[in-house]
Symmetry: C2
């Protein structure tokens, strides 16, 4: 329980040499005699010396921290994306500083501020649902900090992005439903100011149009992302008397809610109604019937995002910005096997 930590000066004093020599030895500088270096290192260890990273960073004008901002850490997609980032970043001796916004714009803004103030080397961000403007992100960009967005991105910003091809995924799964013979397919969507849900909606819409079917407003339900909302909407649909014959949901959770509700009411899945989700949440495989969905490669997305950021940091961020897209993989299960 010592209080004042040993510094390079303490070591220097003990050995009757200068602090700079100690610094050089500890950092394996090129021209320094092996004997003094070894002596210094040995003494440093004896004195339980711990380099003060804060001081180093201040002096060098750069840190060893990468900031990550996500809506919620307890979501399967995000926690796995972060695991992917970790695996890339850990070997590189950066550290992750993780902030969670709870989908709130103000929290996101404050977190960005904190990261800037802590002089992080780069920032990875996936936007909060509450962030309808991007002034805070632009302000951060103006600081000249390398910044990469993933999953929930701002289309109009010209920066590196990594995301799912939500359009293609939605197109594929809708087409699958159509091929199975479903005709009256409705869509559970999220807030459509978020690229993710907008693109899924558009993929659905395009697939319907390509199959000669019109999508009307009454077929699309906004903000149906949770299990509970899925249940409620399913109940509403059933009560209304005009049950669709299939649902493509932007969320596995609301798909689950609907599935459980229909099951409990004796509506036959997939015969009377087909159900498809998005994200390949672990549970989708385990329900009866299993839920057709799309695999998102969260870990890969995390890895690529981290790699992109590290490139930016190391290359001085000059080049033109890149967007990487991962095409979700259609996972067909019993919930849509009409045929």
């Amino acid at each position: 329980m010592e209080n004042r930590k040993t510094t390079i000066h303490d070591i220097a004093a003990r050995l009757n040499i200068s602090a700079s020599t100690v610094s050089r030895a500890l950092n394996d500088y090129y021209r320094i005699s092996k004997t003094t270096r070894d002596l210094i290192k040995k003494t440093a260890a004896e004195m339980n010396y711990k380099p003060n990273q804060l001081a180093t960073n201040l002096r060098k004008g750069r840190g060893n921290m990468i900031g990550v901002i996500i809506p919620r850490i307890d979501r399967h997609f995000f926690s796995h994306a972060i695991a992917g980032m970790e695996s890339v970043i850990n070997p590189s001796d950066f550290n992750l500083m993780i902030c969670q916004t709870n989908e709130d714009y103000m929290v996101e803004k404050r977190s960005l501020q904190a990261l800037v103030n802590n002089r992080v080397e780069g920032i990875i961000i996936s936007m909060a649902a509450g962030s309808t403007k991007t002034d805070h992100i632009e302000a951060t960009l103006n600081e000249g900090i390398p910044l990469v967005m993933f999953d929930r991105v701002a289309d109009h910003l010209d920066i590196d992005k990594v995301l799912n091809d939500n359009f293609a995924g939605a197109y594929d799964i809708t087409t699958h439903l159509i091929r199975q013979g479903y005709r009256n397919i409705v869509h559970f969507s999220g807030p459509r100011h978020i690229n993710v849900y907008r693109d899924r909606f558009e993929g659905y819409q395009k697939a319907m149009q390509d199959a000669g079917m019109e999508v009307t407003d009454s077929m699309v339900f906004e903000d149906i992302l949770t299990r509970q909302k899925g249940e409620e909407l399913a109940e509403q649909l059933l009560r209304s008397g005009k049950l669709p014959d299939a649902i493509f949901s932007s969320s596995d959770f609301s798909a689950l809610g609907a599935l459980l509700f229909f099951k409990s009411k004796g509506v036959a899945i997939p015969r009377q109604i087909g159900i498809a989700g998005f994200a390949n949440e672990p549970f989708t495989e385990l329900t009866t019937p299993g839920i057709t969905t799309l695999e998102q490669y969260s870990e890969e997305i995390g890895k690529s995002t981290a790699r992109l950021l590290i490139e930016r940091i190391e290359s001085g961020k000059k080049e033109v910005s890149k967007t990487m897209t991962f095409k979700p993989k259609l996972i067909i299960r019993a919930s849509t096997e009409k045929k």
Copy 2:
């Protein structure tokens, strides 16, 4: 894309005052004229001034960062625990620095080192499976850094801890199995040098003994925590011809593996064999039959851990160390309804 950031000196120069005045104004020091303070704040905003947290921390000798070390961030329990910590820590203007060990001792050691070097204000840790020694943790404690352990703790260290009452949970669920009429109950365990799995084993053992049944070595299987291991072991048990009539697994995942395997082979659950897990993973509710398990209150554990740490940090860590225990809640589902 400016390069050099504005400092308080720049502001001072612009206003022909001293840097210390600027500093005081920005920090709302008590004795300073309102007019200069307002002027300074206005100018700071104009010049897009961002306080350099690194410098502040160095000068003040303390930082605004809390380090968290966990085995894996993509596990339900841990990501939810972290969400809980975030909710407590965010309002307090600390920031979380999260490290994931992948269950590896060396990574854990290096992470601790990094946190110490970054002069974090406190550390929260849940040990890696690979950490059979605790020298690195003791070394960190010797630095005088407040440290709280959660879930995977080192029993012999006299520090604050927050954990599940694994013994009680295991005792409860085993007793439940016994009351249901199961007699030949085997146990899927994890590495028993980890308190978590040791305590679950002991709870199981005690419940069996209290019911007059002996637990022999052949009834306990070590290192069966994953779905795949659960499947493999289930297969082995079935082939051996002496199928137990119930399984209490330390992990929902291996319970799931066993359940799916038995189902696929036509072994009736819960009639021929009862299955119980631990952790109340989301999927346990959705299998057919649903899996009896124990709810862990991960978020609460995260919150309490964070609160305990903040107390330590703020109170100068003098008091005697506390251990908080959360009793897991038995969730009874169809997989054990023999009666």
